[in-house]
């Protein structure tokens, strides 16, 4: 066992010192998508070893959760994966609802699916823009951010916030969506597939983009499973697993969609899989819009769900419940649950342990980028240094969820 008190050094292997060089990539390198530091050993331009050094954004969110009431943790979860905020909310809410044995009304479930899919589109758009920019196709970034802006406006309309929504709460949603919300989503969805064609026109036939991605960053299915890779990179390695279809949650069993798979196992496969995934998300959103049920968006549980403002101001009981929830929280039955969902970046999971009080005993988050980062060396070993940038872009990491 190595001594934890010793600073890490990555010396070149013995006997190779003359031609091997150890360089730092990051923590402020533009292609690392955040504060990621990679210690890279190179032989000329060939990558010999890659060692990710993480923790620059560590804020101890799991420890903070132990000192908060259950409902106070929702806004913390937004800040972990800030590109796909609603998946975090959804996963946490589902885990606590499992402990509470609570069923949310159908409209809340459908709205959750709608918001989670919009959030996935948001995350994939940022991935596409930054990935293409890393490769040198700067224009695509401007195109994808044009559509991302539309999604952020929809978010703002529904929750009053553009990025940290906290819209999905324990027991339902924060509030009713505005009256014209579904029409606005419909308008967005109607034109969005054309926009995907536009990105595809810019990139798919582009010889530079193709050459930079094809055959680069090979990750076999066996390696991907051993290294715990999930989400689009796993499906691009030919493993047919998507929790939305295989272990449905929040009513995903009601929707029909395809799960794109590729067996090429390279960066190009990951690009193609995510592009098709965006089209499938559009299909899911269309089905939600077509069949949106009527009814409340909050569960009928006055001791857990905050009352409406109007009721709180006019009814004594609602005021008491409001006061109790805000000052004392609500007790959650003792036990432990794990809830996994398919977020934009891969499988997110929340492990919540309750000791029967109003504060969780332990909250642990499993985030896909944290695990996927381990596969970096496998994908880059023996390849050119410039391919490292393409591979980082293709696995789509978010440093907020790696460091937590």
């Amino acid at each position: 066992m190595s001594n934890p008190g010793v600073m890490p050094t990555l010396e070149p292997a013995e006997g190779a010192k003359d031609q091997h060089m150890v360089i730092n990539m990051g923590p402020q390198h533009p292609a690392t998508h955040g504060v990621l530091r990679l210690v890279v050993e190179i032989d000329g331009e060939i990558v010999v070893r890659v060692y990710p050094e993480i923790g620059y954004l560590h804020t101890g969110i799991e420890k903070t959760c132990e000192a908060k009431f259950y409902q106070q943790i929702v806004p913390l979860t937004d800040r972990i994966n800030y590109l796909d905020p609603l998946s975090n909310n959804l996963c946490y809410a589902l885990a606590v609802e499992k402990l509470l044995g609570m069923q949310v009304p159908p409209k809340a479930e459908w709205m959750r699916v709608l918001m989670a899919e919009l959030s996935r589109l948001n995350s994939h758009l940022i991935w596409l823009g930054t990935h293409a920019m890393d490769i040198g196709a700067l224009t695509v970034f401007l195109y994808t951010f044009r559509e991302r802006e539309e999604i952020l406006r929809l978010f703002e309309a529904v929750a009053g916030q553009r990025m940290m929504l906290s819209y999905i709460r324990i027991g339902g949603l924060a509030m009713e969506p505005p009256l014209d919300f579904l029409d606005r989503v419909q308008e967005f969805i109607k034109t969005f597939p054309e926009k995907i064609d536009e990105y595809s026109n810019l990139l798919t036939g582009n010889p530079i983009f193709r050459n930079r991605l094809k055959g680069v960053g090979y990750l076999s299915a066996a390696d991907a499973i051993a290294l715990g890779v999930t989400g689009p990179p796993l499906r691009a390695s030919g493993v047919d697993i998507d929790l939305r279809r295989d272990m449905p949650y929040s009513g995903y069993e009601n929707f029909k969609f395809e799960v794109p798979i590729s067996t090429d196992c390279d960066c190009w496969a990951r690009y193609e899989v995510r592009l098709v995934e965006m089209r499938e998300s559009v299909k899911i959103i269309q089905q939600v819009l077509d069949g949106m049920p009527e009814g409340p968006v909050k569960a009928d549980a006055p001791k857990i769900v905050l009352p409406d403002r109007e009721k709180m101001k006019t009814q004594m009981e609602a005021l008491i419940h409001h006061f109790k929830i805000v000052t004392e929280g609500f007790d959650v039955p003792a036990g432990e649950v794990y809830q996994g969902i398919e977020a934009g970046h891969g499988q997110t999971g929340y492990y919540v342990v309750s000791d029967g009080t109003a504060k969780p005993y332990r909250v642990h988050m499993r985030y896909p980028s944290f695990t996927t980062l381990q596969a970096l060396e496998t994908m880059c070993k023996g390849r050119m240094l410039a391919d490292l940038v393409a591979v980082i872009g293709s696995i789509d990491i978010v440093l907020g969820e790696i460091d937590r």
Partner: protein, 168 residues
């Protein structure tokens, strides 16, 4: 298994009686029935607890039985109870579309357990995280160093005797 999903099976005897056909239960019984110390089925999730020195071989048996994907691993500090630390491994089966939780408990001033990185290389970061934040050593881990905190950091923040705010 549709009916079983709704009920709660509180102890080992109930799980062995109620879920005898469950692939994970069968795998563990076929591997070493006496190493299974506790079992529970609650909230639709199966929890199997094995003796701390048997984790690697139990995980190996489950991997062979179809639980091919290592999803998550973390610890829970039950301070001041003894044994103090509970390690929870979440294993997913791509074939059964199902997840189980494998638990083990460790104790003592220098808690340690076998590393499962030989089965799933992806457990590497998770074990380093638990080592960093809980101070549990993983024997056989290829690179057991702090991962989130600086190397010179004192203490293990996710332990319950480590305060949430203020000075240590």
């Amino acid at each position: 298994m549709g009916e079983a999903l709704k009920q709660t099976l509180v102890d080992k005897a109930a799980v062995l009686a109620g879920l005898a056909e469950h692939p994970a239960v069968k795998a563990i019984l076929g591997w070493k029935a006496e190493a299974l110390t506790e079992a529970k089925f609650a909230f639709g999730e199966l929890t199997l607890t094995v003796a701390a020195d048997q984790v690697l071989s139990a995980a190996g048996a489950l991997q062979a039985a179809g639980y091919n994907f290592f999803e998550d691993m973390t610890a829970v500090d039950w301070f001041p109870a003894s044994p103090r630390f509970q390690l929870s491994y979440h294993l997913l089966s791509h074939a059964f579309k199902e997840r189980i939780r494998l638990c083990a408990r460790v104790d003592g001033p220098d808690p340690a357990i076998e590393s499962i990185t030989s089965l799933w290389a992806g457990a590497n970061f998770y074990e380093r995280e638990v080592f960093d934040l809980f101070g549990i050593r993983f024997e056989g881990h290829p690179n057991l160093r702090r991962i989130m905190l600086p190397d010179e950091w004192e203490g293990h923040p996710l332990r319950k005797d480590y305060p949430v705010e203020g000075y240590r």
